[in-house]
Amino acid sequence: MLDVANLVTAYGKIEALKGVTLQAERGRITCLLGPNGAGKTTLMMSIAGILQPQRGSIRLDGTDLTGLTPARIVAQGVALVPENRLVFPQMSVRENLLAGAYQRNDKVEIAADIERMYERFPRLRERREQLAGTLSGGEQQMLAVARALMSRPSVLLMDEPSLGLAPMVVAEIFRIVGELNRDGTTIFLVEQNAHMALQVAHHFYLMEQGRVTFSGTPGQLAEDEVIQRAYLGARRTN
């Protein structure tokens, strides 16, 4: 279980996370919904070790990940598919996948995993020698997911995988998310697309202004209320 407790991350004096507590259960899909600026990406970057939290803890099955370098966190089996994908634009699709397996030394298995990625994402096979920067947004998102999977993570973090993609591509991404989860990967997903997220999630959290404001299962809260709070922030009181 990925266990985040009382996490505070600040940019200078501004606290983007004001004590976030949430859990992502093993083998499940957990979603975090919330408007822009709620601190969702900050949370993901803190879990991945890119940002250093000021207080609080991040644990994976009891192992403390707080303050570890990103490389150590990858070694612990946590991989992040970052917001805006961040593929290596001047490297080929195949090289991007190889970079994803950077910490592994088993050449034969790496080659087999690349083959598996090509099977899961046939478009990547077609474009394997193409520079990643020339791919379409959807293809780049597939590549970013495949690259993260190359480290064989037990927990996959995904930051807004639907961002800027056409509805059909979004559906495809969510189909893959479900598939990965059925294959045993724990998934912790940040989304603005509440409708899609609620369809796949086992559990979801709402985050507003650096705090978790709701925790429950889809259906526990009316979808239109979730959507309103996920897009617009706190409920209007009048």
Binding site: A71, V74, A79, F88, A99, Y102
Partner: protein
């Protein structure tokens, strides 16, 4: 015509040492997107270690080369730890300015610690130059040219065929994503500095073995020549470093012959200026677009 060809040959030969200096420079710039003004002075420290083992222990060429390279690598890593590793992403100016401060520090240290200003440096090859029809070729120059091509090919192979190269290219492409795939970016950057300094150390050895003497001013000279050659060729481009070095060498050799040494340096800067105006990214580099030359760093 014979003069012109001979000048071109000489220019290519001198230019190959500029190319080597630019190769190390461009490697650091490519990975960090930051200028290391202390690049030349760290080579100068290596050169002094080389001359030390030569004068004190009468060491042979292999030991002098090793001492020069080791000294340059140690000084290069010192600069990296001090001026680059602690600086946050986006603090490229801080790195550049502090590398300027360390330049002054290394230069003053060399002047203060070493009682004599000029020290002898052992020649690489003695004896008459080779003749090729009406043209003359110096053996040490030929070695430098060979080294320039061999080392740039070697660095290119390293970048495109090795695991370390994959890591460096990932960092060049996107430092945050490089962290996310599990690359230890800080270590890789330090090793890139060490590699660049080793290339610089070899360049320094070859230049000084031709000059047969070393002064504390060598650091400034190496930074200037490497920087100009890199900027003419294209920031961060390995073929650009070679082309930039050779073009600079040829222009210098021609202008020295036809107009004299004062005009030579003037023309070198005119060439740089023309390049920056007409092709801001350098001859083989990409034009600067999204990021400023000093802006992007590793997260």
């Amino acid at each position: 015509m014979i003069d012109f060809v001979q000048n071109t040959i000489d220019g290519v030969m001198i230019g190959s040492s500029y190319a080597l200096l630019a190769l190390g420079f461009t490697l650091i710039f490519g990975v960090m997107r930051r200028l290391n003004l202390s690049y030349g002075p760290s080579i100068m420290i290596g050169a002094y270690l080389g001359t030390l083992v030569y004068v004190q222990l009468s060491a042979g060429p292999a030991v002098v080369i090793a001492a020069t390279v080791i000294g340059a690598v140690l000084a290069g890593v010192y600069v990296e730890r001090l001026c680059f590793a602690p600086m946050a992403a986006g603090a490229g100016i801080a790195s550049m300015v502090s590398s300027f401060a360390i330049w002054m520090q290394l230069e003053q240290a060399a002047i203060l610690v070493l009682p004599r200003h000029t020290y002898p440096f052992p020649p690489l090859a003695t004896g008459a130059p080779l003749t090729l029809g009406p043209f003359l070729l110096r053996v040490d120059h030929l070695v430098t040219l060979g080294c320039a091509f061999a080392l740039s090919a070697g660095v290119q192979l390293l970048l495109y065929r090795s695991r370390f190269g994959l890591a460096l290219r990932a960092i060049i492409n996107d430092p945050v994503a490089a962290h996310l795939v599990g690359i230890n970016v800080r270590t890789a950057v330090m090793l890139a500095f060490a590699l660049a300094s080793a290339v610089g150390g070899i360049a320094g050895y070859l230049v000084l073995a031709t000059d047969q003497q070393v002064t504390p001013m060598f650091g400034m000279w190496a930074t200037f020549k490497g920087l100009i050659a890199m900027m003419i060729g294209g920031l961060g481009s390995i073929p650009g470093a070679i082309v930039g070095g050779l073009v600079l060498g040829i222009v210098e050799a021609q202008s020295q012959w036809y107009f004299g040494p004062q005009v030579r340096d003037l023309l070198a800067y005119v060439l740089l200026f023309a390049c920056l105006v007409l092709r801001p990214g350098g001859l083989l580099g990409e034009p600067p677009a999204r990021e400023s030359a000093l802006g992007r760093g590793s997260a």
